[in-house]
């Protein structure tokens, strides 16, 4: 499982992730989504999977980590 993040270059503020998985996503004052700090590893939870599948911009991604725990390639979770 990778580290969950919202690509700020793709997110357009639909806020579907926040509606479906408010325990993992928060919305900033301009309406853009972010993963709540400490919730980067919640990518396997059903609500989060649902949020990923419903994001109209396909902006919720998982960052693969290699064996050393370093950030490696970025792959779409959709």
């Amino acid at each position: 499982m990778g580290e969950l993040w919202v690509d700020g270059g793709r997110c357009q503020g639909h806020a579907r992730c926040w509606a479906l998985a408010p325990e993992t996503f928060e919305i900033d004052e301009e309406g853009y989504a972010h993963v709540i700090p400490g919730r980067e590893n919640s990518g396997d939870e059903p609500n989060v999977r649902k949020a990923i599948r419903n994001c109209p911009e396909r902006a919720i991604l998982e960052r693969e980590t290699n064996d050393a725990g370093e950030k490696a390639s970025e792959v779409s979770a959709s």
């Binding site: 639909h14 309406g31 109209p56």
Partner: protein, 397 residues
């Protein structure tokens, strides 16, 4: 016209239209187009390419350098040839204009409006009940609710509200058959906002209601300067049309569906927690915005079809929302559909600014209507699924 043969298209709909009575049977047409020729050319409205696959629409929206919104994403025009801010503005100017109102439309800000919205919905539903057993719920709820809620948010004085429906009808719904009517109403609407802005500026900042949209626009700065009167008028014009009409359609179409489908109606009565999920499904299948236009900035290719720089392109969201490659049984309305990445609010940098408000209004309208009003059915089967015209219901049938 023999555009199809000239362009070598095998299965083309040269009369494809997405307005008025064309919407009556458009879902059958979408399936035909999606199956047999998902990109084609219509001769309507000066000619445009239609793009119907969900993936193609998504890709076009992610590429504003190729698929620009200027001169306008509205086809045919909303009774004006002035580019509307922010929807008809391309990068780089677009982001600064959009940023002004983004904070007003976040889910948190919208939820602050919740109690007021609910109170308005309750009052209107009460009036529906008081009107008897056969009631036009479009006139009694679907239209007035967004008018009241958006007008308060925007700062339109209450005494002006009664005239708003006519401007919407003439600008949005007469523009295909009678463009001159739309332009005449457009001039009235523009003059209305010119006077309203005069009044607000004369009254000065102390007299202004603290946090309405017009105040935000008057205070706003773009690149270190205030907005010009022309820019303010354009922004006000767009907000008016976007804030009132689409939500009215969304509420009306949801009630239209529930009136014709007693099982779904009963299911939502028994399980109101399902209403937000159902709202997404109504937005997917009966969306008020069936299509929006772009203009190719450079030569490009969509699904093998060449499109030349300068040609109009219409992204048919309503068709993409019924694309069998994306949705299981796309033409079935399943009020508990969970995977619903639809295009009702568009996407990319022009995502509907008011999507969170529109959703909230729709959900609250359905919740309060189902709470207040007993079993209802359609009283007139000739009333179409689309638009904001009458929706006559038999209540307590």
């Amino acid at each position: 016209m023999s555009t199809e043969t000239e362009r070598g298209l095998s299965h083309n709909k040269s009369d494809f239209d997405f307005h008025g009575r064309s919407l009556d049977n458009i879902f059958d047409e979408y399936q035909d187009i999606l199956t047999n020729g998902p990109v084609g050319h219509s001769n309507k409205y000066g000619g445009f390419w239609y793009v119907t696959k969900s993936e193609d629409i998504f890709n076009a929206e992610q590429d504003p350098d190729t698929f620009a919104v200027g001169p306008s994403m509205i086809l045919p025009p909303f009774g004006t040839d002035v580019p509307l801010i922010p929807i008809d503005i391309d990068p780089p100017a677009h982001a600064d204009f959009r940023k002004i109102l983004l904070p007003m439309f976040t889910p948190m800000n919208v939820s602050k409006l919740g109690p007021g919205m609910r109170e308005t919905a309750r009052q209107l539903c009460h009036e529906v009940l008081a009107a008897g057993d056969v009631v036009d719920v479009s006139a009694k709820l679907a239209r007035p609710m967004p008018t009241i809620i958006f007008s308060r948010l925007a700062g339109y004085p209450e005494q002006d509200w009664p005239i708003f429906d006519r401007w919407i009808d003439e600008i949005i719904y007469e523009r295909t058959a009678h463009p001159e009517t739309a332009y005449a109403a457009g001039r009235e609407l523009n003059d209305y906002f010119d006077r309203l802005l005069d009044e607000r500026e004369e009254a000065g900042p102390e007299a202004e209601p603290s946090n309405d949209l017009i105040t935000q626009l008057l205070k706003a700065e773009v690149k270190g300067r205030k907005l010009t009167r022309e820019e303010l008028l354009s922004y006000c014009y767009l907000l008016f049309l976007a804030g009132l009409d689409t939500t009215a359609w969304a509420i009306r179409s949801a009630l239209w569906y529930l009136a014709g489908n007693p099982q779904a109606q009963q299911q939502l009565r028994e399980n109101p927690d399902l209403i937000p999920t159902a709202a997404e499904e109504f937005l997917r299948t009966l969306s008020p915005v069936q299509a929006m236009a772009r203009t190719a900035k450079k030569d490009t290719v969509v699904r093998g079809q060449e499109i030349k720089a300068g040609e109009r392109v219409v992204l048919v969201f309503g068709a993409g929302n019924r694309d069998p490659e994306v949705y299981e049984e796309p033409n079935e309305i399943k009020i508990d559909r969970e995977d619903n990445r639809h295009l009702a609010f568009g996407g990319g940098i022009h995502r509907c600014l008011g999507s969170n408000l529109g959703r909230a209004e729709m959900v609250i309208a359905m919740e309060e209507f189902l709470k207040a009003v007993p079993h209802f059915e359609r009283a007139n089967d000739d009333e179409p699924w689309h638009g904001v015209g009458p929706l006559t219901l038999k209540i307590g049938a």
